[in-house]
Amino acid sequence: MKIRWLVLLVIVLVMLSYLSTNFTTLNPRLGLWESAGQGNLTSGSVNIPGLSSPVNVTIDASGVAHIQASNMNDLMFAQGYYSASQRLFQMELEALLASGNLSKYIGASGVSSDQAMRLIGLPGNAWTLEQAYISDYPQYYGYLQSYSAGVNAYINTSSASNHLGFKLLGMQPFHWTVFYTLCWQQYMSWSLTTGAAEPLQSALIYNALGYQNATLLWPYYPYYTQNITMVPGDGTVLGHNLSQLGVSPNQFWAQNWYGQNATGVNTSLLKTMSPLIRGALANISDPFGMPGAHELGSPVGSNSWVVGGNYTKSRVPMMANDPHLPLTVPSIWIPMQLEAPGINVTGWDLAGIPGILIGHTSKTSWGLTTPEGNSANEYLETLHGNSYLYNGTWHSMAVQNYTLVGKSYSIYYTNNGPLISRNQNYGISLNWASKQPSFDLVAELGLDQSSNYSQMLQALQIWGSPPQNFAMATLHHVGYITAGFYPMIKEVVNNTAIDVIGSRSLLNGSNPAYEPIGNVPFNQLPQATNPARGYMFAPNQPTVGKNYMHPFVGGFWASGGRAQTIYHFLKGHQNTTIQDMMALQSNVSDYWALMFAPYLVNALHGMTMNQTETAAYNQLSSWNYTTYQNQVGITVYWYLTAEMYNMTFDKVYSSVNLSSVPTPFITTAIHLAQTNQSSVWFHGNFTTLVRQAFARETTLLGSKLGSVNNWTWGRVHLLEIASPTGIAALGIGPIPIWGGSHTVSVGTVPRALLIPEPYVSVGSSLRTIASPGTGQFYGVMPGGPSENILSYYFSNQLNMWINHEYYNMNDQKAVAVIRYE
């Protein structure tokens, strides 16, 4: 062969080799295809350095892992190893997100998220919490370390880098530490914190529309919720109430809680602060965070209820819980049982955090919902250069510098917390209760090891952030407590000092009178045990009545539609059974529609209608208020109210630069329809408004969906369970789905004039029903334990979840036994 041919071959070889570097991901052995070999869990043994004695992991037919260890540290280690084996990519992605390090892996597109996480203080709080664990709870810090060691033991295996997410993004797993676990705890805490954005949004409404309209659109207690609070009664807790302090509830709630007397901020000055407030809202919003988590009327909520032994057919207590969170595949939850001497608990843990957060032992069960009262407050700060004014004196702001993608950033701190927005000589600081060390793992493991009611209450004394409504049922007791840090602010009403929770607007950061004076003591938190009426419930409605001794001025509750359905169902179901509990958890009736639709039908009655309008009217007037996929009545109702809002609230909001702020609950429209049909919000005539909206919606739906019989809810109301990567191919859906924003079995959707509506992305992230007294425990989740899209366990429980069916968690056959040794 001639030399020139050899040279040519060398050149071709070099070119091909260079070209081939683009195809490394497709290498059949070392590329993404290896993920295809990581399907299902099979029996066998795994050698894991770091365990002191062998651990058995039994996988049952529903995909629940039952981990049995001979001591607590091995149990935590094995939980970390198993969790990583199922969810390592998810855990690491979430750790990067929560620690403000996303941009290190995904570049500039992660910068705004990282800035928000650092500004809010997630990594800083996690670091503080870790130091506090080391000094105050070394035993529990040891558990956290064991969990991390288990995660790292898995990372050290060859399987770790084969998780599809790593392959697709070209990432390698990084070493796990306790810090990442605590960052994720902080992230979850932040996502479920009330008071982060709500006072800012309500301040914008107050500035734009005034006090009368602010309280009309967002009353302190939502309409129709006064008699359906979590704690039954007027607000008296353990014998104490507001009236005993010398202020009647009527006096207290007649105050303007937006005004200068309540906040210390001059109303005229506040009106000029709207741009600053909008800046703060933008700066603390995370583009990758839970959608709508920090909004007035947030879709992130939950259901829970308990029924006492005096009200059940079995004469023993029962509990139900389904937390409404963004639905993702993989889920944020992993179902499992943890068993070792002193602990035997089954339920769901948050991937990346040890222990079981929602679950049951053989004698106790518990669930969580979000109480929607402020555990964060925002302060208006007076600034000059790098100093802030406090109590008449200028103080230097602390500063923290950091670098992202080669660019430097700074965070400034006043005594209240980080400055989340600044405009010349004014700024807004965030005072979030989670900056106090919150030893939630200690509380969680206390629940996991509990065997009676008092042990559960004792464990919850340690719970800090975020405050949660804990539903509890044991062999003999049921009850609730809203546990956690609620900072109190001293207000004065009729010359009487009242320690209230939160605010409706910005507080004066320069005046010490508005500083938090401590947290609500545990025995004064909203709570009740064994209610005489036999049941309690906490689906994000007001936790306690208006006579509560620490009024929730910063209470940004849900509309109460789910609470109404639960209340009326339980009221009519004395001798409640497990099947009743399941039926209630599966309920897709819209209580607010039941109240509002008759007004709409009445307004349309007598209207001159074309054929389509007549057919739509017939559907609406004969609708039974359920929201199944094949229903047409809900579609007519939903788009009719959407058109009404578009013609009224949306229009006004837009005209006063409030488009980014949520419009009021449907209950405001119901209230006005009941009390003032000639309201300016209805353009002076409710009937005319309804008829105009009806004509518009029938034209819209007819043009998009054809004849009225085709206007089924399932065509416009679709579920998408997204991948945290944002890659559509790694998600599930869209699937026609039941439910609405106010149904117990929820299918939250924004009120938009789109066909289909934006996909449902928030819903019941798990469902559980427990009756420790009869040993009955049921559960289901929309997915499975694995993050591997090729695994059976990726979505093995999804169909059961969609069909409102349950796994009997006590009666599942073992399908694989894995021995860690």
């Binding site: 062969m1 030399i3 041919w5 050899l6 071959l9 060398v10 071709v12 070889l13 091909l16 080799s17 070209l19 081939s20 570097t21 195809f23 490394t24 497709l26 290498n27 059949p28 052995r29 070392l30 590329g31 993404l32 295809w33 290896e34 993920s35 295809a36 070999g37 399907g39 599809l164 697709l168 890659i727 559509a728 191919a729 790694l730 899209i789 090729l790």
Partner: protein, 128 residues
């Protein structure tokens, strides 16, 4: 070259092809499989290099459930827009192509360095 020598070259090449697939992420690992194929004549070394590269990398897929490979191909197709079959055969084709060029190159080098005068007629025949 005698048949044993040629067979040995092919066996070693197959071994190197698999070794490379299990240890080197890049397709240019196929350069290794071409080296022992220099014992073949230039007429066959290129074909042998291509086939060994293509078949060895395709057989790797047998390590996994084929339904999972197909499903994963479908998912990746949705992400990057390349048909799943192309995704599956792209690396093996590239691996085979590099193996072929490598084999031709090393055969050429051997021929270039090896004086023709010392070749026996049998070897000359084998080379062809």
């Amino acid at each position: 070259m005698n048949k044993t020598f040629v067979a040995s070259g092919i066996v070693v090449s197959v071994g190197l092809a698999y070794a490379s697939l299990f240890t080197i992420q890049y397709a240019f690992g196929a350069i290794l499989l071409g080296i022992p194929l220099m014992v073949l004549g230039k007429k066959y070394s290129g074909i042998a290099g291509f086939l060994i590269g293509l078949v060895s990398s395709l057989t790797i897929y047998l390590l996994y459930p084929l339904s999972s490979v197909s499903e994963l191909g479908g998912i990746v197709q949705q992400i990057i827009g390349i048909p799943s079959l192309a995704l599956i055969v792209l690396f093996p084709l590239m691996y085979g192509l590099i193996g072929a060029v490598s084999a031709l190159l090393f055969t050429g080098i051997r021929e270039y360095l090896e004086p023709k005068a010392v070749l026996t007629p049998q070897e000359e025949t084998g080379k062809q």
